[in-house]
Amino acid sequence: MIVCIAVVGHQNNPLYLQSFTESDDALKLHHIVHCSLDVVDERVNNPKKSAPTLSETFLGLLYPTENYKVYGYLTNTKVKFIMVTTDLDVRDADVRNFFRRFHAAYVDAVSNPFHVPGKKITSRTFAERVSTIVKSFGLNSAG
């Protein structure tokens, strides 16, 4: 199950962060997303170590915490998507697919003429779409 999804801007500032958890670890998810930015930086700045992942937007597993797995995705405009899941056994293809759909939703949201680039995403439609994508991720992996 995806417990958190985040969009992070150029200055490593959160543009959108939504957690899908009922337990009281929302703050911890913020921390996890924030920490994962270090890994993204590391991968982007030291392309030698992660040569296979540089050419594509999908950054793969960023780091495992004791209960979560964190995946990253870097768009061409250097906006970062971070996804935190509690599933310990996730197929890469599922995650890729998820990010692809999420990216599409993000592109639609920032294409809104009333959206100012670099500001937080407040669109309700985007939030709804994201929660649909997140829910379907659970279904896909179950199925």
Partner: protein, 1179 residues
């Protein structure tokens, strides 16, 4: 890792035992220890002590297990093999004893038998060493040696002759002994390993526990042999076998069973990790660690002792982190070269901080569960005092009660209940918080070193929380403050909210009301708009969940505290208070995070203003606080404090407590000073700056209540940064001023111009200056509208061309010669009304700079002075004169400046030239002239004792007429060089107009006979022509002197002098005499050839062509009678003379042989002027 016993932490070292001959033990021990791999030794001084290594009564593992197995691995097995059970026994015998009398030999044999008996059960290898002296080496009884070897049943190579007293022999013996020891030890461990392995392979091991134990033993034996691969394999097998025990072993109660398994798994895993990491297989080690953790993490155990599980897990991470750290060099190399499978390991898993952090996390988990368990047990009835006698049992991971029974001790197994109580009692004894902080700190520092600031921050947050829980508020505050800046910078509002919440509580803890208010206000002004905080945020931080209502609550609390008027009881504020005794003063600068609380933007409507003129200023305030803020008084401060003013609200009566402001201050009122949320409060006032210069608004100070002040640094709207945190919010942009142009270009500073000077400064130029004279430059200061107080006149002389001003370098001492132009004085300081001149005025004069003070002048007065400037070389310069004055007598009044400049050319007045001429119709034969004919710049030659003419010509190069006063010579030697007249003062000054030449002829008679005669200089005295006798320039009467140095001359005695003689004019048909006189000044007879050329205009009589001799020191005259035939200016018949001795010819010049023929007697009287004729061309 440190808590593991040493034998587990370090790789095992083989053990040898030395018996007998104690005097050589030290030698052998040292040598064995320095071997590679080293061998430890037990040294037994005599053979009776051999029993210490003898085998204790113990069942043979090969004999099968009849008794139930007590545990998996014995606690002291490893240390026993490292310290007590040797692999080799070296029996040392003295050669004297071996080859000694039968009694000694018998003793040797007995001892050997004893050893053999002792080591038999353990299969320990035997090595026989015979210690002998180098001298008696060959005295050894061969038979006895052979017999000894047979007795000992050792190979010949294991019978070593040891010679301690010869260095070479000693070395050989030690080498042999070392090799034999190492070989035998290896053989021993191999045999032992094989023996145990054989048991394993026979599969007749009674229980799984024994199977694990045998695997472990084989692995340890392999380690003794340094067979790492075998060791790793066996450890892994043991580890896997151990898993099978989980849940099925009923040997122990369930809780203790799991504890034992985990303890052993921990040891096995430690061994495996160490072997892998030291073998450089980092990736495998990490994978292994992951598997280890993922398997055992599920085995939580019974809920009442679940804290043991977390403690165990924490230790796993800690130990692995330490292991990883010890071989971190290898890790660094590996991560760059080995490509990591994308989904296998991630970057952080290669770095120790990751594990440290998790270790801390689990330790914290343990802590919380432990606290819970302790509180539960206390509820049940406390922990009984029966735990003291519980000790670690002989088996790893087991505990037992030690019972003392009639002087003997016995172990009694514990029940689970007892065990739980024991662990709780143990757990209570230790405080883990420090350890958690230490772990987090390590992780924090390591992450920082890796430049992973966010990871480090997370560790920092955890560290801070731990400090906070422990009540160490100042430490917590320090940690949190560091982290807060990162979160502020990156705009992680939620994380910042948490950190600030802790900081706010820490401020309460350390009773810092200022910090408390600062953090409260920052939190209240954070961009959190949602009101329904997610339930998941509950209780996550001390300040409550991030929500709008929470912000409002914090806002109210903070303002309640600072104004002191809300109903909050002091107890609620935890002793924090703001009152008259401890007022609160906050300062907000351009980088303060509190800019969101109060932002002051100040814009002048104009950029430049005249002093005294009014201009508008707009002060815009903005606050992001969630509720409106009522400001009681605003003070605007400028760098010119006279402009400061105060704004009060006219709605609210001024508070008595804050009305004690400067009485002179201007007080303005505003309709309202209520600051609405996220909206600009714009206040526009006019302001009248009086002082020139920059007027800058520095602070806007808001006073809220009697004791609370916020001092906010003013910002220009043009260069205002975005609000921190809010710049990422999606909200409409607002501008601080109504006028958008002003919002983009407005500045908080304005330039106030200087006062318009109402004083005239006049420089009167009188044309170009002349080199040498003291040029007078009159300066007039005339007041038109300002009285002049303490005026100062500055004069600067500057070269118009820039470089090389007056002196080549400033540092050089000022020498008059170096200066081309200098200011020599300022004179004639007088007022137009001729009143007294202030004597003690400042006067500073330097060659290029002058400073004088101007006396007080009333309106309408004027004052003038004269600058005296002297040019030493012709050079154009710029004179800058500036007057600075105060227009009123108040010292605070502004200075006003007037500047004037003038370019002045400096010119040379006269140039003097000279040349020498011989007298008319007289020529001297100067030999040097003949010789040095070709030298172009030869010095002029003059005839000794003969009169020559010196013609001095002075040219006026300036643009002004001059008056020439006199001309004089300064001769170096009056006797040897006579000039006539030596000095001539003109009767009245001669007007010398520009461009004209003034020529004067002097007679020169050189007297001294020397080749180069120093002559002297000619001086021309002149002065400026003052025009129509107007005496304006009082100094113009002083004359200047221009000097011209005459070059040295050659003086020599001419051997021959020729003079022509004829009348100045003639009349047609009337004969006259034309004679040529040749004077021989030598002591020699001179032969002279001469000839006369015929001329059509004259009829001549006399010798035409001849050679004559002139006697020494005598004259010869050749005379002709001529009758003129033509009229007008006629050429006389040309006479040519040639000196045979000097081969020098003479021909008179055309001018000197011309005569004017009149047709009849001219109507004037001719007087004979003789031979000496002076001709002055000008006359």
């Amino acid at each position: 890792m440190q808590e593991y016993p040493e034998e587990l932490r370090t790789p095992p070292v083989a053990l040898a035992c030395l018996v007998g001959c104690p005097d050589v033990h030290a030698l052998i021990t040292g040598n064995l220890h320095s071997l590679q791999p080293p061998i430890n030794t037990i040294a037994l001084p005599d053979f009776s002590k051999i029993s210490v290594i003898s085998k204790a009564a113990k069942e043979n593992p090969a004999a099968g297990s009849v008794k139930p197995v007590g545990g998996i691995v014995k606690r002291d097995w490893l240390s026993k093999h490292r310290t007590r059970v040797p692999a080799v026994v070296a029996a040392l015998f003295s050669s004297d004893h071996v080859s000694g009398d039968p009694a000694q030999w018998l003793q040797v044999c007995n001892n050997l038998e004893n050893i053999k008996a002792t080591i038999l059960g353990r299969n320990i290898k035997l090595l026989v060493v015979v210690v002998t002296q180098s001298g008696s080496k060959y005295d050894t009884n061969e038979d006895r040696m052979i017999s000894l070897r047979k007795h000992a049943e050792v190979d010949s190579k294991n019978l070593i002759i040891f010679v301690p007293d010869d260095p070479l022999e000693l070395k050989q013996s030690l080498n042999r002994l070392g090799t034999a020891c190492a070989e035998l030890a290896n053989a021993y461990y191999r045999d032992e390993g094989r023996r145990v392995k054989a048991c394993l392979e026979r599969k007749n091991v009674g229980s799984i526990e024994l199977h694990i134990r045998y695997c472990f033993k084989v692995a340890v034996y392999a380690e003794f042999r340094r067979d790492w691969l075998e060791a790793l394999k066996m450890y892994e097998e043991a580890y896997h076998a151990l898993r099978e025990v989980v849940g099925i072993s009923t040997r122990l109660p369930p809780i203790q069973s799991l504890v034992e398994i985990k303890s052993i798994a921990e040891q096995f895993h430690f061994k495996i990790s160490t072997l892998l990491l030291h073998g450089g297989k980092v990736v495998e080690a990490i994978t292994w660690f992951r598997r280890h953790i993922s398997y055992y993490r599920r085995l939580n155990g019974a809920p009442e002792v679940i804290f043991l599980h977390w403690e165990w897990l924490s230790r796993q991470y800690l130990v692995f982190a330490q292991l990883l750290e010890t071989c971190s060099v290898t890790v660094q190399n590996l991560t760059t070269t080995v490509s990591i499978p994308a989904d296998k390991q991630t970057e952080w898993e290669f770095y120790p901080p990751y594990y440290y952090q998790l270790s801390a996390h689990y330790l914290k988990e343990k802590n919380s569960y432990l606290e819970f368990a302790i509180s539960m047990s206390e509820d049940v009835g406390g922990i009984d005092g029966n735990v003291e006698s519980v000790v670690a049992s002989v088996y790893v991971g087991q505990f037992a009660r030690l019972l003392e029974h009639e002087g003997t001790y016995a172990m009694q197994a514990l029940t689970d209940d007892e065990y739980v109580r024991y662990t709780l009692a143990e757990g209570k004894r230790f405080q883990d918080s420090f350890e958690i902080i230490a772990l987090l700190k390590r992780s924090f520092e390591a992450y920082n070193n890796l430049k992973s600031t966010r990871m480090a921050s997370y560790c920092g947050v955890q560290m801070g929380r731990e400090y906070f829980v422990m009540g160490e508020f100042s430490n917590a505050k320090q940690v949190f403050e560091n982290i807060a800046s990162l979160y502020r910078q990156e705009g992680w509002v939620t994380l910042l909210w948490e950190v600030l919440g802790y900081l706010r509580e820490c401020s309460v803890g350390i009773s810092s009301v200022k910090d408390f208010i600062e953090y409260s206000l920052e939190m209240a002004a954070m961009p959190i708009m949602t009101n329904n905080a997610a339930p998941s945020f509950r209780d996550c931080c001390p300040a409550g969940p991030p929500s709008l209502s929470q912000r409002e609550q914090i806002h109210k609390k903070a303002f309640g505290l600072v104004t002191g008027e809300s109903g909050t009881a002091p107890s609620e504020n935890n002793g924090l208070k703001v009152n008259g005794d401890c007022p609160l003063y906050l300062e907000i600068d351009l980088v303060s995070p509190l800019r969101v609380v109060l932002l002051a933007s100040v814009a002048f409507h104009e950029q430049i203003v005249k002093p005294g003129a009014r201009t508008m200023i707009t002060i815009s305030l903005r606050s992001q606080l969630p509720l409106n803020v009522e400001i009681d008084q605003l003070e605007v401060q400028f760098n010119q404090s006279e402009c400061n003013f105060i704004i009060t609200s006219d709605q609210k009566p001024r508070l008595a407590a804050i009305s004690h402001v400067h009485p002179d201050r201007r007080v303005e009122t505003a309709p309202t000073l209520e600051l609405p949320t996220s909206k600009w409060l714009r206040l526009t006032y006019d302001i009248k700056p009086d002082q020139s210069g920059k007027l800058e608004c520095i602070y806007v100070i808001a006073r809220i209540g009697p004791n609370f002040t916020i001092c906010c640094r003013a910002e220009s709207p043009a260069s205002m940064n975005d609000l921190p945190l809010w710049n990422f919010e999606d909200m409409t942009e607002t501008i601080p001023t109504k006028d958008p142009g002003l919002a983009f270009s407005g500045q908080k500073a304005i330039q106030v111009e200087e006062l318009e000077p109402q004083v005239d400064l006049k420089l009167d130029s009188s044309g170009p200056a002349l080199v040498g004279e003291s040029y007078i430059l009159p300066v007039t200061v005339a007041s038109k509208g300002h009285a002049i107080h303490s005026g100062e006149l500055k004069i600067n002389l500057v070269d118009t061309k820039g470089g090389g001003l007056l002196s080549p370098r400033e540092v050089e001492p000022f020498l008059a010669d170096n200066l081309h132009v200098e200011l020599v004085g300022i004179s004639g300081q007088e007022r137009a009304d001729h009143s007294e001149v202030n004597i003690d005025n400042i006067q500073k004069i330097q060659p290029s700079f002058g400073l004088i003070s101007v006396p007080f002048l009333n309106v309408g007065d004027s004052w003038s002075c004269k600058l005296k400037i002297k040019w030493n070389r012709p050079k154009p310069i710029m004179v800058y004169v500036s007057l600075g004055y105060h227009h009123s007598s108040e010292p605070s009044s502004q200075k006003v400046h007037v500047h004037k400049s003038l370019q002045i050319e400096g010119k040379t007045a006269v140039t003097i030239s000279h040349h020498y001429m011989l007298p008319f119709r007289q020529d001297s034969l100067l030999l040097s002239n003949i010789k040095a004919k070709h030298d172009s710049d030869h010095t002029p030659s003059l005839a000794l004792n003969e009169t020559s003419n010196l013609i001095i010509s002075a040219k006026n190069c300036s643009e002004v007429p001059l008056r020439l006063l006199s001309m004089s010579f300064d001769l170096e030697d009056d006797d040897s060089f006579i000039i006539q007249p030596k000095e001539e003062k003109f009767r009245e000054p001669i007007l010398h107009v520009p461009g004209e030449d003034f020529i004067k002829v002097f007679a020169v008679i050189p007297m001294g006979n020397c080749s180069t005669l120093k002559t002297g200089a000619v001086s021309l005295e002149w002065q400026r022509d003052s025009g129509l006798g107007e005496g304006f320039y009082s100094c113009s009467a002083s004359s200047q002197v221009t000097k011209h140095r005459l070059p040295d001359v050659n003086v020599e005695l001419p051997p021959l002098v020729v003079r022509l003689k004829c009348p100045p004019h003639a009349i047609v048909g009337r004969p006259f005499t034309y004679s040529v006189t040749i004077q021989n000044q030598t002591e020699l007879l001179q032969e002279i050839k001469y000839s006369l050329a015929d001329s059509q205009s004259f009829v001549s009589s006399g010798p035409h062509n001849d050679t004559t001799f002139v006697l020494p020191k005598s004259e010869h005259v050749i005379s002709y009678m001529l009758v003129p035939l033509g009229l007008g200016s006629q050429q006389l018949p040309k006479v040519t003379l040639t000196s045979v001795r000097y081969k020098a010819g003479f021909q008179p010049s055309t001018t000197s042989s011309t005569v004017f023929i009149f047709p009849s007697e001219p109507p004037f009287q001719v007087t004979d002027i003789g031979e000496t004729r002076f001709v002055s061309v000008t006359e």
